[in-house]
């Protein structure tokens, strides 16, 4: 049984001024112990998808579709069932630990609070558990840090402390919303390696939202690339990195500066992502795609499986076999 099952997830934000179709039909599965990266640019719907898994969206968000986590339908849960789920089975870490943690409680109190909310343990046991967790996330002088407030820690330690809070009840599923984006390079790699180690040790399912291909390359088993509220390509990370199928994924890889590109002109994706005031009725990427033609504008392309284990939402990607992949990759005539 899969740990996460999303079917035709749609999220629409309606306010008096405008309507935004943030997520327009996302299907995703996650197996236990698997790491999935949702890769996309700002406004692609990646964070909204993640939040829908824990029902952390504002009231004016309309959520449709199936959201199942660990066999439970999240969309129909009562508030009290939800608070039982959050922190116990599913935990989330955020980009900004300073705003995600409570500034007036110590790190130790915040971890112990989570433990005591979900398990019948004494205060002393919960505190002992907090210490264990700080050691687990490799915070130096953990004992002293239990009594520290979030503002007393450096950015990297604060992020580790937030991971400790998230892991307090050994969740089956960890949701990570760009947790390393605000960190310095030498600290980012430490936190990524820590997350990878903890994921393997506890065999957690992880959904990791990022805009950074390099981060996905370090941590993901599978990657789902989102554009304008839909998954446009999905498959194992190695396939995406070596031969993306969808023109948007190809453009993204070509536009990401990596070593060895010096002196060459960067390939760019012209234009900008669409405003999502209306739900796209054709391929949302067509206006920026140099290979777009009539079928692209007729309907929303379906998410097909042109190569075993890989899915792409593009009419141009031919079905099956390896030579077709290289064909799809070759530049436009």
């Amino acid at each position: 049984m899969s740990l996460v099952k999303l079917r035709d997830l749609r999220v629409t934000f309606r306010t008096r001024d405008r309507t935004v179709h943030a997520v327009n039909g996302v299907d995703l599965d996650l197996a236990a112990g698997e790491t999935l990266c949702i890769l996309g640019e700002s406004g692609s719907g990646k964070s909204v998808t993640l939040r829908a898994l824990m029902r952390l969206l504002p009231r004016f968000a309309e959520v449709q579709g199936t959201v199942e986590v660990a066999g439970q339908d999240v969309t129909r849960m009562s508030e009290s069932a939800l608070t039982d789920l959050r922190g116990r089975d599913v935990a989330m870490i955020f980009q900004e630990p300073m705003t995600a943690m409570d500034p007036v409680f110590t790190i130790g109190q915040q971890i112990a609070e989570t433990v005591r909310r979900h398990e019948r343990v004494s205060r002393a046991d919960a505190e002992a558990r907090a210490l264990e967790l700080l050691e687990l996330v490799q915070i130096p002088s953990a004992k002293r840090r239990l009594a520290a407030y979030p503002h007393e820690l450096s950015g990297g330690l604060r992020q580790r402390a937030m991971i400790a809070v998230a892991l307090a009840c050994r969740p089956k599923l960890l949701l990570a919303d760009e947790p390393t984006t605000a960190l310095d390079a030498t600290v980012q790699i430490q936190v990524l390696l820590l997350l990878r180690e903890l994921q393997q040790r506890f065999n957690m399912g992880v959904i990791f939202v990022t805009h950074d291909l390099g981060v996905a390359g370090e941590i993901a088993d599978r990657v789902a690339v989102m554009y304008a509220g839909r998954v446009v390509e999905e498959g194992p990370v190695s396939g995406l990195m070596s031969g993306p199928l969808h023109p948007y994924a190809q453009g993204l890889l070509g536009a990401t500066v990596h070593p060895g590109m010096r002196g060459k002109r960067l390939t760019t994706i012209p234009g900008a992502p669409p405003a999502l005031d209306k739900e796209p009725t054709a391929c949302a990427f067509a206006p920026r795609c140099d290979r777009a033609h009539e079928p692209c504008l007729a309907d929303v392309p379906s998410l097909r499986e042109p190569v075993a284990g890989r899915r792409a939402r593009c009419v141009l990607v031919p079905d099956q076999t390896a030579w077709c992949v290289s064909e799809a990759l070759s530049p436009a005539p």
């Binding site: 640019e41 310095d184 950074d212 291909l213 536009a255 960067l266 994706i269």
Partner: protein, 350 residues
């Protein structure tokens, strides 16, 4: 006749466009009942380097290393506590009596682009007026300044007919950053300081802006100082790279040398911290542990020694000098300096 033409070159190609020496900027931290200075943030602590004519000098480092303070000192948005700045042979900040280059004339030749494209534009001015503002301040007539603004908007790829009368909130992040670039170029500067100009942009837009910067440099004969925390972007765009750590220069040199044969352990660690783009060849151990220390109380001697895998007693005792490694490559590390007393230094010399 072109009113407000680009400034002429003075000292010839061999003279550095900008020469900084011993630049210091400390920020006092005030606190307590009487608002006394309790501590000092040593944001920039004795920084010196040259910016050569026509080059792109990349500056990299982590948060708190002083790269943005350096940018603000270069632009003279901050006054240095001490140190000298010489622009094409003239001391910056002089007046009619003392000689040197008055700030107003300096700023005509040096412009800046900031990371936050929205905060750096006036939300109540159509972008055309924002771009025309500086030329007007520098004496161009109204019609002339607007014409200049429209030319610059066209040069950065924003068709004036469509965009000139729009307000910043009507533009995307990438378009706004183009406006900021147009505004910086409206005075026909010789040096442009780019402080994380693409960091807030999405990848597909980042590539567009980087290509634009390369084109504009060629078209207008510019010199860039490009500040970024993204090592891949710096490698792509720079001719020379300067690495900073806790307010000091740790290494400087040609881009290929820095990326292929870094001499400072900090540079090596920074480079090894980049995520690998190859899932079959992932990083296994982090090159450094811990965060960069607080610049309030930097470590004695070499400031990197608390995180350095090769630190020895000498590193705490003496501050390393910049060791010249040839081809314009220099590093502030005892290991790179034979005779420094570090056990690894002799091996390098041999």
């Amino acid at each position: 006749m072109d009113a407000l033409p680009p400034s002429a070159d003075r000292g010839g190609p061999a003279q550095p466009l900008l020469r900084l020496d011993g630049l210091v900027k400390h920020f006092p931290l005030k606190g307590g009942l009487l608002g006394r200075t309790q501590a000092v943030v040593r944001a920039v602590d004795g920084v010196g380097f040259d910016v050569r004519k026509g080059e792109t000098l990349g500056i990299v480092g982590e948060s708190g290393c002083g790269k943005s303070t350096t940018a603000r000192l270069l632009m003279r948005l901050l006054d240095p506590d001490s140190g000298t700045m010489v622009f094409d042979g003239e001391a910056v900040g002089g007046n009619a009596q003392s000689g040197g280059l008055p700030l107003r004339a300096y700023r005509r030749q040096v412009q800046m682009v900031f990371q936050d494209s929205y905060a750096s534009l006036n939300p109540r001015l159509p972008i055309e007026d924002s771009v025309a503002f500086a030329p007007k301040v520098h004496g161009l007539g109204n019609a002339e300044a607007v014409r200049r603004a429209r030319d610059m908007l066209a040069a950065v790829g924003l068709a004036p007919a469509n965009f000139a009368r729009r307000y910043p909130h009507e533009l995307s992040g990438g378009q706004r950053q183009r406006v900021n670039i147009a505004r910086a170029l409206a005075l026909r500067p010789r040096l442009v300081i780019l402080d994380e100009p693409v960091s807030a942009l999405d990848k597909s837009v980042e590539a567009q802006v980087l290509n634009l910067l390369v084109d504009l440099k060629e078209e207008f004969g510019l010199t860039y100082v490009f500040i970024s925390h993204d090592l891949n972007v710096v490698q792509y765009i720079s001719d020379r790279v300067l690495v900073m750590y806790l307010g000091e220069v740790t290494e400087i040199g040609p881009v290929e040398r820095i990326y292929e044969r870094p001499a400072h352990p900090y540079t090596a660690a920074l480079l090894a911290s980049r995520p690998s783009m190859d899932p079959s060849n992932r990083r296994t151990a982090p090159p450094l542990t811990g965060d960069p220390p607080n610049p309030v109380n930097p470590p004695s001697g070499c400031r990197f020694r608390t995180r350095c895998p090769h630190a020895e007693a000498v590193c705490a005792e003496r501050k390393p000098i910049m060791a010249d490694l040839g081809v314009g490559h220099a590093a502030a590390c005892h290991i790179a300096n034979p005779g420094s007393g570090h056990s690894l230094a002799e091996k390098v010399a041999a």
